[in-house]
Amino acid sequence: MPVVRRNILTDAVARDDYVRGVGLLKQGNSPYTTTQLGIPGPAAPVRTYDLFVVWHGRTMMTPIPPGGNPQVRNAAHRGPIFLPWHRVMLGFLEQNLQRVLNKPGFALPYWDWSADGDLGSPTNAQIFTPAYLGGDGDPVSDGPFAFHAADPATFTVRIEAAGPGGMTLRQTSRGLRRAFAQPPPFGWLTLPTGAEVKDALAFTPPAGGNPVDRYDTLAFDASSEGFRDRLEGWIPKDPARPVHLHNQVHVWIGGDMGPSTSPNDPVFYLHHCNVDRIWEGWLNRYGRIYAPDMTAPAGTYKGERIDDPIASPLGASATPRSVLDVSAIYTYDVLP
């Protein structure tokens, strides 16, 4: 039975389950240590939640194609693989939450940030009140993810990006950081609006091309034309407006949502669940199509073509093609 993912603001049960489940995944040790995962310092057990932080950070260092520059294109970002990779990641978190909650019907909720963008991007929006995710701060000081130094069970960031080079991870022990709506270039003052989501969904390539040009086009990177690059937030390239949609939400929240270890903030999953919902709306509207196909040369595009394995524990069985129709696993209450 597929589960139904709902708006967190309309489903208090999903909200409470999410908060409780994240707490359980933060407390539970995985069978692996930092040393086994290649993180320097004394060997410490890695919490199950933090496996996701490591997975995201490592995938960002995995270049496409192999041997290429992960800053140009990596196995999870800056190319067409962005949407399939994060869909698999969310599926992994949802499975783990179902397991620790002992609730097979649990569905990851989403945060429709464009609704807050339409309200003027208030930093005290309902999602950031103590009953939901808490507000900003260094450390966050209210809500379920606040830092209380004297409480050993407090929400603690344990793995972070080691420095501005962004290529290595390190251990830490501190509270969560958020810094909403910093002025550019440090942050961004507004969240994306509903009209901007509609624009990305309505993007139509020039007539006479291939139907999949609507999704992504050569050179399948952070400059390529298409729905994916709009939703990821690299285009349109406008010096006055360098961030859009997905990227804009990371930059508006700031703090731990900035580095490659952004899954440290539980808002990451609610944000990406909304990104996935927008993609699902697009697939529903235009067909379950993807680009590039396997005629794209491996020497340049291996790792993001339709039948290439997604960088995940599922190995070769998970490909972009395998996640275009996930209706057997989950659906959304409302599609844009």
Binding site: G28, S30, P31, Y32, Q36, L37, G38, P40, V46, T48, L51, V54, W55, R58, M60, N69, Q71, V72, H77, G91, F92, Q95, N96, R99, A161, A162, G163, P164, G165, G166, M167, T168, P185, F186, D221, S223, W234, K237, P239, P242, H246, N247, V251, M257, G258, P259, S260, S262, S312, P313, L314, S317, A318, R321, S322, V323, D325, V326, A328, I329
Partner: protein
């Protein structure tokens, strides 16, 4: 890939692979990144064609902060916009801005300024 077979991801396999033992095992088997240091300056190579001429522009940023080299991994794209590993959702118009924002986000890496 046989287009007639159902390619969709199998929920049972997803459940098994998401179990912390299997999931952590995948991460442990990934090639470990080099410890304690980041990569050196990387080159951005932009190529284009104009009126039958082939253009190639190679850019390397050599940055120091307080006299110490900073391997910021800055990359410039065809539009002239910059991105960096340390803040992967950002896009910058100016390399100076990019380094300012890196200092702002990684204060303990840089220590106190003069």
């Amino acid at each position: 890939m046989d287009p007639t077979s159902n390619p969709t991801i199998d929920p049972t396999k997803l459940k098994a692979a998401a179990e912390p033992g299997a999931f952590g095992g995948y991460l442990a088997a990934l090639p470990h990144p080099p410890m304690g240091h980041d990569h050196g300056p990387m080159k951005s190579v932009r190529t284009a064609e104009y009126q039958g001429h082939r253009i190639s522009i190679t850019t390397t940023y050599e940055i120091t902060v307080d006299g110490k080299p900073l391997m910021a991994g800055l990359d410039v794209d065809d539009s002239g916009m910059l991105s960096c590993h340390g803040l992967p959702a950002y896009q910058f118009v100016s390399a100076v801005d990019a380094v300012r924002v890196l200092i702002h986000n990684y204060p303990d890496y840089f220590g106190g300024g003069g």
